[in-house]
């Protein structure tokens, strides 16, 4: 019951702080699920390509993650990004904690928490993200929502609070094929698009998960499309 009270306080706090603050970076990224499986270990590759009318961005992340308790998983990331001069290099480092607050199916919905800390590679610029993760099952479909609050500070940057919202509505058709719709909001950005994801289970606990989404931005730009791809190997 204490964890539910904590959820209540955090949701209200997140939503009240989110009024009027939106993230200025591309919010299209993985939609986090609250579920944590004990003994889980994984390596992950994320790829995001965003194309605007006159420029494009490319970012990739490599991660290793491990559940350290039945409810808590830690992931460490190395992120790379192509800059304005088309050079591709290391952008930053990140550590992420995801905590499963409630047992799957125990309450009306499943809840989790997210905490991320990121440092830029070549400058003293930092970012901390907190978030509430929500998931609700509707027969063969699942609605997942992430409400994230981001604080940036450091060199060459005005300290600022931002927020992001991610939504995924997924049809659990079969393990390998699960179509979905995703919605993202951030500063000057509202994006929506189709997604396809799945999991292939090997012998034992090894499995390969994949996600592919194509998000169209509706933020005034004539052309704003983002392709995101995730490949995750659990072992």
């Amino acid at each position: 019951m204490n964890s539910l009270r904590l959820v209540f306080i955090l949701v209200v706090l997140e939503l009240s702080l989110m009024q009027g603050v939106y993230a200025d970076s591309n919010p299209v990224d993985k939609v986090y699920h609250p579920l944590v499986v004990a003994n889980e270990r994984k390596v992950e590759w994320r790829f995001v390509a965003r194309e605007l009318e006159d420029k494009n961005y490319l970012a990739q992340r490599l991660a290793y993650g491990q559940a350290i308790t039945e409810r808590l998983i830690v992931e460490a990331y190395l992120s790379g990004e192509r800059d304005q001069s088309d050079d591709y290099g290391l952008k930053g480092y990140e550590i992420e904690l995801r905590y499963m607050l409630t047992e799957q199916g125990q309450y009306w919905a499943d809840w989790g928490l997210l905490l991320e800390f990121e440092k830029q590679h070549d400058s003293d610029t930092y970012e901390i993200t907190t978030g509430v993760l929500f998931e609700k099952e509707f027969v063969h479909t699942s609605l997942t929502i992430n409400a994230l609050l981001i604080y940036e500070w450091g060199q060459n940057l005005d300290n600022e609070m931002e927020s992001e919202f991610r939504l995924q509505y997924r049809y659990r058709y079969m393990p390998e094929i699960q179509p979905a719709i995703e919605i993202y909001t951030g500063e000057d950005f509202i994006g929506i698009g189709p997604a396809l994801m799945g999991v292939h289970r090997f012998e034992g606990i090894r499995q390969l998960k994949w996600e592919l989404a194509f998000i169209n931005g509706f933020n005034g730009e004539k052309y704003d499309e983002t392709l995101r791809f995730v490949l995750e190997y659990d072992f």
Binding site: Q104, W108, I205
Partner: protein, 117 residues
């Protein structure tokens, strides 16, 4: 303000659902087999599945149709909440021993006790 009200309503429903008493159904894991291999539960109700692992190795309960995934440590007990479900059969298996540790949850319309096949 409207958004805050919606959140409050959601949280209230979340609290109230936790107060309901749930029917409990027991499963044992022994020699990498589920006993019983079939559990009958009532449709339209959330139930608590209690799994006792009597083996010396861990197992991972997995079911795509139930949308559940949970590790049951060696010589320990865990529980999984399932439902409310529509009538039908929902298969589950143990990820570490998928050839032997297999079973199903049978969901029936009328109130059913735990039937072992």
């Amino acid at each position: 303000m409207a958004r805050l009200r919606v959140v409050l309503l959601l949280i209230m429903s979340l609290f109230s659902s936790s107060l309901l008493a749930l029917s409990e159904f027991h499963l044992e894991l022994k020699d990498h087999l589920f006993y019983p291999s079939s559990v009958t539960i009532p449709a339209g109700q959330k139930v608590k599945l209690i799994i006792h692992n009597l083996d010396d190795t861990p197992e991972e309960f997995d079911s795509f149709s139930l949308n559940r995934e949970k590790v049951v440590f060696a010589q320990s007990t865990t529980h999984i909440y399932i439902g409310p479900l529509k009538p039908g059969e929902y298969e589950f298996y143990g990820r570490y021993n998928p050839n032997t540790a297999r079973g199903k949850v049978v969901v029936v319309k009328d109130q059913g006790a735990n039937h072992a096949d």
